[in-house]
């Protein structure tokens, strides 16, 4: 396209493949003060509808500014097609640029509060539904789906053993190593045993197991149920008169409540073994002495104080995961968002519950 005294030569290939150059060339033309604009299309080799749209928009702007447009040579018929097609569609309303509205922040806060309220209600009603289903399953074992339950125990428990063991081992090594460094200053290396055994049994094993499981199974619960929601599988269950909470939520919740304490026991064992190994390597404490010292260090309740927390953590993880999965609707983006929410919230809740347990046990003097 070339410019000269109100004359434009349109030539070459006006196709979408060249659209970047076309738009740049068209925008570099200053409309000037020309009242009449003659377009010369004799050099035009090819034009497609996309190219015609680009040209059409500039020509409309020029005529709106008062220029008369004439064609030398044939006016490309694609321009007619574009004009005809666009006439058929109603022009979209231009978004009106709004000034600052004092009511807007208030509306935002209000909307947020209402959403939080609805969220709380949803959570509460889901909690109620889960409780009802659990109660029904316990009184009428027919409602307990054993096949699904065992599958979830296997997936969330059995298959998590390697990673949980590894984490427990590494954590006890870290605790023993740090303890050894500090306690060596006082010549009190033997207390590393106290530190490792009490630390692992009371807190570390169960807490880290719960966090691993939240990342592993909490996300899986949300994603599995979320995809079923998107595929209308949940609707299909409901249409058959089957309670989705009973089929989808209950086996996951109960499965995890069974699996997580067992995982915590394994984590305890591996953690204690790891501590013993490090005491032997680092501090030359023989296993027999490690075991003897351990007997003195821990109270009869130490193990149970840790393990009693596991079913509670399991319930929180499974509850949040399945709830978020049930809330998926509409798009795959929601699925990703709610899966993330499920993991973050379940880890948060696990740590919060752990803190509450710590306070409770302190008050109870256990």
């Amino acid at each position: 396209m070339h410019e000269g005294d109100g004359r434009l030569r349109v030539c070459g290939h006006w196709v979408m493949a060249n659209a970047s150059d076309l738009a740049a060339a068209l925008d570099s033309i200053s409309p000037g003060r020309a009242q009449r604009l003659t377009l010369d299309a004799t050099g035009l080799e090819s034009i497609d509808l996309g190219g015609a749209v680009l040209l059409d928009r500039r020509l409309r702007a020029l005529s709106a500014a008062g220029a008369r447009i004439e064609w030398q040579g044939e006016r490309p018929e694609q321009l007619e097609v574009v004009a005809a097609t666009q006439k058929g569609a109603k022009p979209e309303q231009e978004a009106v640029e709004e000034g600052f509205d004092l009511a807007e922040p208030v509306r935002t806060i209000g909307r947020w509060a209402v959403e939080r309220g609805e969220e709380a209600l949803t959570t509460l009603s889901f909690f109620g539904a889960v409780c009802v289903v659990i109660a029904r399953a316990l009184t009428h074992p027919r409602h307990l789906r054993i096949a699904a339950l065992t599958r979830h125990v296997q997936e969330t428990g059995l298959q998590a053993i390697p990673i949980v063991s590894l984490i427990a081992f590494l954590i006890s090594v870290i605790v023993a190593y740090m303890g050894a460094q500090q306690l060596r200053k006082f010549g009190a290396e033997i207390f590393v045993v106290d530190l490792v055994t009490v630390g692992v049994l009371r807190e570390m094993a169960v807490l880290l197991t719960a966090i691993i499981v939240a990342g592993r199974s909490g996300s899986a619960f949300a994603a599995e149920i979320g995809v079923m929601k998107l595929n209308e599988e949940v609707d299909a269950l409901q249409a058959m008169g089957v309670d989705p909470v009973e089929v989808l939520v209950l086996p996951r919740v109960l499965g995890l409540v069974i699996a997580l304490p067992l995982l915590a026991v394994i984590a305890d064992a591996v953690g204690l073994a790891g501590g013993g190994l490090l005491c032997f390597w680092l501090l030359d404490i023989p296993f027999a002495q490690y075991l003897a010292r351990m007997q003195e260090a821990i109270a009869p309740t130490t193990f149970w104080v840790g393990i009693i927390k596991a079913p509670v953590f399991a319930f929180l993880i499974a509850f949040v995961g399945t709830l978020r999965g049930m809330q998926v609707r509409g798009s795959s983006r929601e699925l990703g968002r709610l899966t993330t929410v499920a993991v973050v919230q379940s880890i948060f809740l696990v740590i919060l519950a752990d803190a509450l347990f710590a306070v409770l046990f302190l008050e109870l003097d256990i």
Partner: protein, 260 residues
């Protein structure tokens, strides 16, 4: 209906295509030619490998053996950059629309343009709105998300996205599946109108006998891991038992009865 096909008008040429998944042979020497400016229908039973054939032609999947030539270029031998150049030249709609659910319809249509071209925002909006008008979607559909659209609108929006770069070649995977007869007929009419107006070459996988009879110039049937290609008139006279059942079954008879 079927002008004598000359070789220089061959847009797609598939020779000896073999596709295998493990032990399962899907295609065993498929030959197929599509000529410029025609609507070519691909039919075949469920699991006969229609979508696999489409994926091979689109370069989404490398066949075990055989050549696939698009406008003279054998895409089975192209590297990534060259394949990208080829992909700019065709538009595709997938069976369920495959609109990106996190983007509005307008953004969906703009995606190929922003990917390949550098255009000012006003032009992008204008072009996308034009594409929506072209496929008969109302202007306010542009701001909606795919989840808010009806089935027929999703198919149209997918078509608008496929047309975004003014391709010469259009691939449609079951464009009328799941539409009510009125919407399907409207889509057929839209397709023939666009194909005539733009001179497109269209390859369409479909099970819809109405669509085949209303739009296609030629038909390729995948049977026994091979393809039988013929004109619409020729294919209904084929002797192969599956093809006979397909075009002379109760549903096909109803269609031809309704068409007189």
């Amino acid at each position: 209906m079927s002008p004598a096909p000359a070789d220089d008008r061959t847009v797609i040429s598939v020779r000896g295509l073999v596709n295998r998944f493990g032990m399962q042979v899907v295609h065993d020497g498929v030959d197929m030619d599509v000529y410029e400016g025609e609507i070519f229908g691909v039919v075949g039973g469920s699991g006969s490998g229609k979508s696999v054939l489409l994926r091979s032609i689109l370069g989404l999947q490398r066949p075990v053996r055989g050549t696939v030539k698009l406008e003279g270029k054998d895409i089975t031998t192209l590297n990534g950059q060259e394949l990208r150049e080829v992909k700019k030249r065709y538009g595709v709609t997938f069976q369920h629309g495959a609109l990106f659910s996190s983007l509005t319809v307008l953004q969906n249509v703009q995606l190929p343009m922003t990917e390949y071209l550098r255009l000012p925002r006003t032009d992008l909006d204008e072009l996308a709105r034009f594409r929506l008008a072209q496929v008969g979607l109302p202007a306010d559909a542009g701001a909606k998300y795919p989840a808010q659209l009806s089935g027929g609108m999703i198919k149209r929006a997918a078509l608008a996205r496929a047309l975004a770069l003014d391709p010469r070649l259009l691939f449609l995977d079951e464009p009328t599946a799941g539409l009510d007869p009125i919407a399907a007929a409207a889509f057929d009419a839209l397709l023939t109108e666009l194909q005539k107006g733009l001179g497109l070459t269209v390859v369409m996988i479909t099970h819809d006998l109405d669509t085949i009879f209303r739009t296609c110039n030629r038909v390729g049937v995948i049977v026994d891991r091979h393809m039988v290609c013929d004109t619409l008139e020729g294919i209904v006279r084929q002797e192969h038992p599956w093809i006979r059942r397909y075009f002379h079954g109760p549903r096909a008879r109803a269609v031809s009865a309704a068409r007189g």
